[in-house]
């Protein structure tokens, strides 16, 4: 572990003094994302928590060039950057689009599907904090069943989280991966690998959100870890169709010592109205997906 830590690029691209909430899971992840992507990169992002992190005109906390775009257009904006750079003979630059789960699972899905189907040479990153957190915790299609949000304020969300990784896999991408800020080396290595691959690459970061998920800001890393320990978040990559567990999830798959989802659920205020039935359903769906992954890993 420590020697791998020393391999991480020393340069900082996310500068101190950004405007994220304390304990922001995105901020933790983003620092390593940028270290892996490095200088020769252009970012594009829609209105989201990341816009807030990047700062208010005329100052910015990020030392990588960035084009802000409208909510529905992130992947199309990346397509335009790729086309424009090709026309300007600057195809050496990596184009990276980053959106939240709202900008990916919901309003951005059409443009993302289009860009992925065209195998646009770019990386799409979804930081998934399971709701519209920048506007104050509204339900998205990434919100899990049983979670309270300001638009599911009493009864909790009744529907399951959309499986965006499966949707993206349906686009025959050369590279897909899941990551977590609680496992920065795993995250870093996946972004370093993604940068070397050509074509449309899709990475999802499971980012704990203290205000939206209702837990103390000091517990972000712990919550992120519990998500992986319970199997709610599974760390893996799919390279040219080949599935592989990575990092902590690989160890869990080998040892078979996942902990029950209640360990993750009970630490968050958003689940305080979750019914026993919803909890049971969550455990069953996590188990079912885990077994699917195990079968794929063995194949």
């Amino acid at each position: 572990m420590p020697e791998k830590l020393f391999k991480i690029h020393k340069e900082e691209y996310m500068l101190p003094g950004n405007r994220t909430c304390s304990g922001c899971g995105l901020a933790l992840a983003y620092r390593y994302v940028l270290k892996a992507l490095r200088e020769n990169t252009i970012l594009t992002l829609p209105a989201s928590c990341l816009t807030v992190l990047h700062g208010l005109y005329p100052t910015t906390s990020v030392a990588i060039p960035c084009l802000n775009c409208t909510f529905a257009s992130t992947a199309a904006s990346a397509s335009g950057l790729v086309a424009g750079l090709a026309a300007m003979n600057r195809s050496d630059i990596t184009v990276v689009a980053i959106a939240g789960d709202g900008g990916t699972f919901d309003i951005g899905i059409q443009a993302l599907s289009g860009a992925a189907e065209r195998n646009t040479d770019f990386i799409f990153v979804c930081y998934d904090n399971e709701g519209y957190m920048n506007t104050g915790t509204q339900r998205s299609s990434a919100t899990p069943a049983g979670a309270l949000t300001t638009t599911t304020p009493f009864l909790t969300k009744q529907q399951n989280k959309k499986d965006m990784m499966k949707i993206m896999e349906g686009h025959d991408l050369p590279y897909l991966a899941t990551t977590s800020p609680s496992f920065p080396i795993d995250l870093y290595e996946k972004f370093v690998k993604a940068k070397r691959i050509k074509g449309s690459r899709y990475l999802q970061i499971a980012t704990p959100c203290p205000p939206g998920w209702v837990f103390p800001p000091k517990d972000t890393v712990k919550i992120g870890r519990l998500a992986v320990e319970t199997g709610i978040v599974v760390l893996y990559e799919i390279e040219d169709g080949k599935f592989r567990f990575t990092g902590r999830s690989k160890t869990l798959a080998e040892k078979g010592n996942r902990v029950p989802v209640i360990n993750f659920v009970e630490k968050q205020g958003r689940f305080k109205k979750m019914s026993m039935e919803q909890l049971g359903q969550l455990q069953r769906s996590v188990d079912q997906k885990w077994n699917e992954f195990l079968r794929r890993a063995e194949a």
């Binding site: 100052t59 084009l67 199309a76 950057l81």
Partner: protein, 401 residues
């Protein structure tokens, strides 16, 4: 060497883009503008036009691709109309706010509901307040020439330009069109010099969140707030008149064709009634003016070529001596009147002109408008004006009972 070919308005638009050496084209099909991007795709696949051609999944993405490609320094083009243009609406604002010289061919078509694929100008008029320059063309030659001119204008003032022409009436009608010499076009249209290029060498955050007020940057320099930036867009649009007029003149010198700067006139000198309109409807009005003159009514036509920025001064000059004005237009600002009529009235207000103005809403959803019907409408207006009716709205050839 220039040469003439018989072609549709859509082909003329495609030629305009090709001669302008557009570097990125983004396309999504919609009737009746589809043949523009189809024509270009044939050239691209045959290797006759070197450009990045992106076949996206929606018009919203079309304009996004143009915005982002333009931000890294590429000259961009697209074509759309009607619901495609409406679907782009958000991105039209974003393009203008970003001060990007994107050029688009808008093949005017009605908007639903209910569905209509036929011509009127409701689509582009509905985009009036997005910060785009709008040029309305009379014939296929003007389409080709205006697209080349549009890049020269856009890249001088850093505002996007919509070159509008009537669906089917021009888009699918063949006319002889002179294709200018490619090298002469290159001399007329220098390469695009972006105001800012997004590149790794000079990292910057383009279009972040901005406060209402001015703020200091890291060096302590006071920078614009939102409203200051928006004033600059308004200032640029107002100032683009000079670039539009100069470009029209320079084009006439280089290629021998003058389509007018902000507006054009036809037999207006001694006119007792002036007909105003845009696009092919104004062309039809010239025939109506001839008919009326043959009958002894001294009619003339003022064709508004550039609708935004609005030709305030030119309108005042053109209408100052007119005893009567009839405005024909293929749009309606629901709950008020035709947009052109309202704008002409507003322009005349400042000059103290109190001429009677009759507004005719005509040809919505492709309803045919014939020159003799325009002439008849003008005759009825003149009688009503003589009887003291200074304001009137009429839906031409429409059941209004």
């Amino acid at each position: 060497m220039s040469h003439a070919e018989i072609m549709t308005g859509n082909q003329a638009a495609a030629w305009g883009a090709k001669l302008s050496k557009v570097q990125v084209i983004s396309a999504y099909p919609i009737t009746p503008s589809t043949p523009i991007t189809e024509t270009i795709s044939q050239w691209v696949e045959r290797g006759e036009f070197k450009t990045e051609y992106i076949r996206v999944e929606s018009e919203h993405s079309v304009m996004t691709v143009c915005v982002s490609a333009s931000t890294v320094g590429a000259r961009t083009f697209t074509a759309t109309c009607s619901h495609g243009l409406l679907y782009m609406h958000e991105q039209l604002h974003w393009a203008a706010g970003s001060r990007l010289p994107i050029v688009m061919a808008c093949v005017n078509r009605a908007v639903g509901a209910p569905w209509s694929i036929f011509n009127d100008q409701q689509d582009s008029i509905a985009q009036r307040d997005t910060g785009w320059i709008q040029i309305y063309c009379r014939d296929n030659q003007e389409i080709l020439d205006s697209i080349i001119q549009a890049y020269r204008i856009a890249e001088q003032v850093y505002c996007p330009v919509m070159v509008c022409f009537d669906g089917f009436i021009l888009s699918h009608t063949m006319m002889p069109v002179e294709i200018p010499d490619a090298e002469a076009v290159c001399r007329f249209l220098p390469p695009y010099q972006p105001h800012t290029i997004l590149k790794p060498e000079t990292p910057r955050n383009i279009n972040p969140v901005i406060f209402p007020w001015q703020r200091r940057d890291a060096e302590g320099v006071l920078r614009d707030g939102y409203m200051d930036m928006r004033w600059k867009l308004q200032h640029a649009l107002e100032g683009s008149r000079a670039a539009i007029v100069e470009t029209g003149r320079a084009y006439a010198e280089a290629f021998g064709r003058d389509h007018g700067g902000m507006l054009w006139t036809y037999r207006t000198e001694d006119a007792e009634v002036l007909i105003a309109g845009m696009g092919s409807l104004a062309t039809e009005a010239t025939t109506a003016a001839d008919i009326l003159r043959d009958e002894g009514i001294r009619a003339g036509v003022v064709g508004v070529r550039v609708y935004r920025p609005f030709p305030r001064e030119e309108i005042r000059e053109a209408f100052k001596n007119a005893p009567a004005i009839c405005v024909f237009e293929k749009n309606i600002s629901y709950g008020y009147e035709g947009a052109l009529s309202a704008d002409i009235k507003a322009a005349l207000y400042g000059a103290g002109i109190r001429t009677p103005i009759h507004n005719f809403i005509a040809g919505l959803g492709g309803r045919d408008v014939k020159a003799r019907e325009l002439a008849e409408a003008v005759r009825s207006s003149l009688s009503a004006i003589a009887a003291g009716t200074s304001e009137r709205q009429t839906w031409l050839n429409c059941v209004t009972e």
